[in-house]
């Protein structure tokens, strides 16, 4: 019996910049479009958590697959940047590979899977376990930027609610969870309040990652292509997960540790390894796991 676990055993580290694709501008978008996006980004940074409408372009990748994140990355990336792209915490998931290929091809920038070496990290659904620095930008891919959308489908209404800071409906929804289940049951895309003002969707990261957003030294940019919105959390800005005094926010924990590196404090993926329901748990952040193993940490190898 072989078990192939979804992790690279060796890092490919930093790949040198390949030649840039001819016939297209640097990073695909034309300079006017990039300027328009940068203006939206600047406004987003100036008003933390506020969703700035922008003239999102049609990209050669499908809507819902990271077009917002790609446009933001294209607008802020320069030839000297080193890009890391992750999906579900890993660099080798197909969509992450595809987006990395897109930028390697259209911008000719260096790419890496090492969190520490990246100047821009584009992510879907995770924040790296390693603490990010002031020298880095984290770009999130966002499917639904509006945290109130599931409670109020109309954009005309939700914009008003944000303007008036009318967030009662969100608190009622969280309270209904408590009344029904005894606890808040939202486990991902857990709403946060930024800088004490705007309620913001952190994108579908697990709530495990929410505390990492708070006062993060790196700039956090959020791009929603299909919904045509950009928003941001500037460095060292307060990001508070919504909760109640008697039901404080808490994150997921596991009884298990990573089967590969033994980490007991990282977000774990559950892998079903046979048809009898045997499971093993491994770090979702593949670079974090590799780094720990290279430093000599070892897990129990999972079920035998």
């Amino acid at each position: 019996m072989t078990t192939v676990i979804p992790h690279p055993t060796k890092s490919t580290a930093t790949a040198a910049a390949p030649a840039q694709l001819e016939g297209y501008n640097f990073a695909y978008l034309d300079e006017q479009t990039k300027r328009m996006i940068r203006r939206a980004v600047l406004k987003a940074v100036a008003v933390p958590g506020y969703q700035v409408p922008f003239g999102s372009r049609e990209m050669p990748l499908p809507y819902g697959w990271g077009t917002g994140g790609i446009q933001v990355t294209a607008a802020v990336i320069g030839p000297d940047d080193t890009l890391k792209v992750i999906d579900q915490g890993a660099d080798d998931t197909t969509n992450a590979v595809n987006i990395r290929r897109f930028f390697a091809k259209t911008a000719g920038v260096a790419t890496t899977d090492r969190t520490a070496d990246a100047s821009i990290i584009q992510t879907r659904h995770r924040i790296p376990e390693k603490k990010l620095t002031e020298a880095q930008i984290l770009v999130y891919q966002v499917p639904i930027p509006e945290p109130l959308r599931q409670l109020e489908p109309r954009e005309a209404e939700t914009r008003k609610m944000h303007a008036l800071e009318e967030y009662g409906v969100m608190h009622v929804s969280l309270y209904e969870d408590i009344a029904k289940f005894g606890r808040i049951t939202r486990s991902y895309n857990y709403p946060v309040r930024v800088n004490g003002r705007y309620v913001m969707a952190p994108s579908p990261i697990p709530k495990f990652d929410n505390p990492k957003m708070d006062r993060m030294p790196a700039l956090q940019l959020f791009g929603a292509g299909r919904e045509k919105r950009i928003y941001a959390v500037p460095p060292y800005t307060e990001v508070k997960s919504l909760d109640f005094e008697d039901h404080p926010f808490e994150v997921e924990t596991w009884e298990q540790s990573c089967a590969l590196c033994g980490a007991g404090d990282s977000y774990l993926d559950e892998v079903v390894v046979d048809d009898k329901g045997t499971r093993m748990y491994v770090c979702s952040d593949s670079d974090h796991c590799r780094e720990r193993r290279e430093a000599g940490h070892q897990g129990d190898g999972g079920p035998k």
């Binding site: 019996m1 072989t2 078990t3 192939v4 676990i5 979804p6 297209y24 034309d30 409408p53 003239g55 999102s56 372009r57 049609e58 990209m59 050669p60 499908p62 809507y63 819902g64 697959w65 999906d87 579900q88 915490g89 080798d92 998931t93 197909t94 969509n95 590979v97 595809n98 879907r124 659904h125 995770r126 499917p143 489908p153 109309r154 954009e155 005309a156 289940f181 005894g182 606890r183 049951t185 486990s187 991902y188 895309n189 579908p204 990261i205 697990p206 709530k207 495990f208 299909r226 045509k228 919105r229 997921e252 977000y267 774990l268 993926d269 559950e270 892998v271 390894v273 046979d274 979702s284």
Partner: protein, 362 residues
């Protein structure tokens, strides 16, 4: 034995080779040429140009070939190409009353100046599979009529307008900036220019279903097909350095003007209202559906209760684009295992708690 799927460059490359192979099909069958698609799949080309927002039959044919006949995928290809093109400015409004008409019908008048001109249409064919066509297509060419089409074909709405029987179509004012939904994000409530752009690019199936729903009582607006015309119109553009418009080409369009239930007020005596549809090429079904939905979305303008789905501007406009819809529906194929893991942890915790409560009760 369990082998986790490891996404990587090689998997993607191999998948794309397989895709190319399947697109080509059996290599013993001659390959389709773009000219064949353009000439013999012309309605597919027209739909792709319309919803792809780019008038280029050659590129539309290429997109259809590349997408293996999946028209929504072909529309996506054309849009992704279109977005890279520079824009020189706004064209002059098309003058469809000066159209070189190939087909023109009105359901509101038995005869009218210029006459009814059936043109080519599936309408009165018996939908019998033509087995002779399977063997080959050697048909005599259609005969040329002894007299030319009347070059004066006033629009039906203009005839009604002479009597003041239909609302006037007032331009928003010359040279007011037109909303451009490819450059700005939509705002609600939207103005009519934004709505019509959205509907013109909107998915034909979406508009057809919504238009149909208005006929079945969900926001009925009592439509008559005042006029449908298909033909060639001149495209004019006024370059800044010239200061006057010049003709830069000719495109085929389908236009539908619906005449709808009348409205009146203290200031205006009762008159008919309008719904408008326009497409590239020959897309009659789409143009008619568009006109029904356009009128439904004007409910607010006429003080009608907007209670049906087709009258709900944000609902209609936000979900009409098949490139957006297709992408977001299909993104569910992407891995979601981090979020799913979070849900697993939550559900297990809730179940543990429920079990503990049950045990305590026993």
């Amino acid at each position: 034995m369990y082998v986790a799927v490891k996404g990587g460059d090689r998997a993607i490359e191999n998948s794309q080779k397989l895709l190319d192979e399947e697109r080509r099909g059996d290599p013993r069958v001659p390959e389709l040429t773009l000219a064949q698609i353009r000439e013999q799949m012309s309605l597919a080309v027209d739909r792709v140009m319309t919803e792809g927002s780019l008038y280029d039959p050659e590129l539309a044919a290429l997109a259809i070939k590349q997408a293996r006949g999946d028209l929504v995928e072909a529309i996506f290809l054309l849009r992704a190409y279109r977005t890279t093109l520079p824009r020189f400015g706004l064209g002059e409004p098309l003058d469809t009353s000066a159209m070189a008409v190939r087909r023109r019908i009105s359901a509101t008048y038995k005869d009218l100046p210029g006459g009814q001109l059936l043109g080519s249409s599936f309408d009165y064919t018996h939908r019998l599979l033509d087995f002779a066509l399977a063997a080959g297509d050697e048909r005599p060419a259609a005969e040329i009529a002894p007299e030319a089409v009347d070059d004066s074909m006033p629009k039906v709405a203009e005839i009604l307008d002479q009597e003041g029987l239909i609302e006037r179509e007032e331009p928003d004012g010359d040279r007011l900036p037109v909303f451009d939904l490819t450059r700005e994000s939509p705002r609600y409530p939207a103005d009519r220019s934004a709505r019509l752009q959205n509907l013109a690019r909107g998915d034909e199936g979406w508009l057809l279903g919504l238009g149909y729903s208005t006929q079945r009582g969900y926001g009925n607006n009592h439509p008559f097909a005042g006029e449908i015309r298909v033909g060639e119109v001149a495209v004019e553009f006024a370059p800044e350095e010239l200061g006057f418009p010049i003709e830069i080409g000719e495109i085929t369009v389908t236009e539908c003007e619906m005449i709808n239930q009348f409205k009146g007020s203290a200031a205006v005596p009762p008159q008919f209202t309008r719904g408008y549809g326009l497409t590239f090429g020959n897309c009659e079904r789409k143009a008619m559906a568009m006109a029904l939905v356009d009128r439904a979305l004007r409910a607010r303008d006429f003080g009608e209760a907007a209670e049906a789905p087709a009258q709900d501007e944000e609902f209609v406009m936000a979900h009409s684009d098949n490139v957006e819809a297709s992408g977001f529906v299909q993104h569910l194929k992407l891995p979601h295992y981090v979020d799913f893991q979070a849900e697993l942890v939550t559900v297990r915790a809730l179940r543990r708690k429920a079990a503990a409560l049950r045990d305590a009760a026993e």
